[in-house]
């Protein structure tokens, strides 16, 4: 075999490997669409569940997931950006920095069911928030922190040093430099991290189990201290806990969850390219 042939074979193998990555995603999406599209209609999206969830719609679960995603964002984003700015711009090599970094690594490694138990202990019971949207948001928010902090810190560190120098040399303070140069330039990367974290939170099941999710609650939450249904947990319930559940409703629910997560990702990449284009570099 000549070197040219070896080269050709290697390139084909590598290309095939890359192509194979696409395959499972396409299969999953197509399969869920084929199985679930039939269930989707106006009633399914807007009605309350009825007849032990075998009829009616999944509106409370959709709304619950949307609310929880917002709640997660409100809890995690300010904390995460603050921590990322601290780590990237202010941290010196001392015990506090080491403690923060250690905490982030460990937070990232904790299984989500453990977050659920932590949320149960800390927010539901100790802070007496009850099984509620606020307890769920706090738990999901903390779970989301590591990925948002890490990606935000990377994005901040990727802003070339010379922009900081220029800003400072024009008489901007360090805080102004961060606010007007560093953060805007890091924004595309920070957005990516936020969306990654939020879409993971939107699809989370185990964490919701003890902190917020209602098994079956055919009404809408009235306040932040109410329980709510949520799509991932609802999916788990109707797929395993309810006898004689029509398959189309199960796959229809999965399809809606998939659409929410995918549209989050889509929004992120649109925002990212637009911000980048405006910045022109």
């Amino acid at each position: 075999m000549t070197r040219q042939q070896a080269q050709k074979i290697a390139v084909s193998a590598i290309t095939a490997a890359a192509g194979l990555v696409v395959l499972p995603i396409v299969l999953v999406i197509v399969y869920i669409i084929v199985m679930g599209a039939g269930a989707i209609n106006w009633t399914f999206l807007t009605a309350l569940p009825s007849e032990g969830m075998t009829e009616g719609g999944i509106m409370p679960a959709i709304l619950g997931t949307v609310i929880l995603t917002f709640g997660t964002a409100i809890v995690s984003i300010p904390l995460a950006i603050g921590a990322a700015v601290y780590l990237a711009e202010y941290a010196q090599d001392n015990w506090l920095t080491r403690a923060v970094r250690l905490a982030i690594v460990n937070l990232a490694g904790i299984p989500s069911i453990v977050y659920g138990l932590f949320g149960l202990g800390a927010f539901v019971l100790f802070l007496k928030l009850g099984t509620s949207i606020i307890a769920g948001s706090l738990t999901l928010g903390i779970m989301t922190l590591p990925v948002v902090i890490s990606t935000s810190e990377e994005a901040i560190l990727a802003v070339p040093q010379r922009f900081r120098m220029v800003s400072l040399s024009l008489g901007a303070t360090k805080l102004q430099t961060i606010r007007h140069q560093v953060l805007p330039q890091a924004l595309p990367g920070i957005l990516t991290g936020m969306i990654l974290g939020l879409s993971r939170a939107a699809g989370e099941t185990a964490t919701l189990l003890f902190t917020v999710a209602a098994f079956y609650l055919p009404r809408l939450p009235q306040s932040l201290f109410d329980q709510t249904m949520a799509l991932p947990y609802h999916l788990y319930v109707i797929a395993t806990q309810v006898p004689n559940m029509p398959l189309t409703i199960q796959y229809g629910t999965a399809l809606i969850l998939l659409l929410i997560v995918l549209s989050l990702t889509l929004v992120a990449s649109v925002v990212r390219t637009r911000v980048r284009r405006r910045r022109e570099w």
Binding site: F163, V166, S167, L168, S169, G171, A172, Q176, R279
Partner: protein, 256 residues
Amino acid sequence: MPEQNHPKISLLDVTFRYADETEALRKITLDIAPNQVYVLFGPSRSGKSTLLRLLNRLSDLTEGAQVSGRIALNGQDIFSPAVRVAALRRRVSMVFAIPTPLPGSIRENLTYGLRMAGATDPLMLEERIQQSLVQAALWDEVKDRLDHSAMALSGGQQQRLCIARSLALQPEVLLLDNPTSGLDPLSTATVEDSLYELKRSYTIIMVPHSVQQAGRVADRAAFMLDGELIEEGPRDRIFINPTHERTESYVTGRFG
């Protein structure tokens, strides 16, 4: 008129040490009079840029570094606790070797320093924009596209924009750290020419691109080597009739 007898900037026994104790500058004593082009030249790693960065305390950003001695601007110690570093940097403004427009329009670049200092009056900002662009010899080229991205300018235009951006702050001292390093000969000439006009309003301290450039633009020059000031004086004496042998061998190109 500024008082010609008093130095704009004076350094007394200034030593700059990195965290690892190496000395980038050793016992520099130097007076710089206002309204002239003062050139700091010497081989690389001689401490020229370090000295420049000390003058507006960008050196503060070097972690663990130590400064001893005294640096005064108009007789006031720039390291005194009474000095606000942001305000100092508006009075002593730096232009870097690599032209670095900030992301955004030409207008946003020019008003950045003023806005950060809290200026909002649109008339004043417009006036400063025009004034500084004229002074930096860029007005005619960009006056019709102030809202276009600064990144779209050519390298030479970007560097003149950076000079204008400093001038918009109406500083007292302009620090130019090898401002023509990446520029073609024509842009270099434009920047050098603008210095003659600028020194009427500002004190300019410059690290030149080459000995030849030093000879072209300097009113006074200081020759530095390994963190020490070898000698300084009026241009003609330094470049035609230097006292020290090492200055002479450097300006005649025997080492460098």
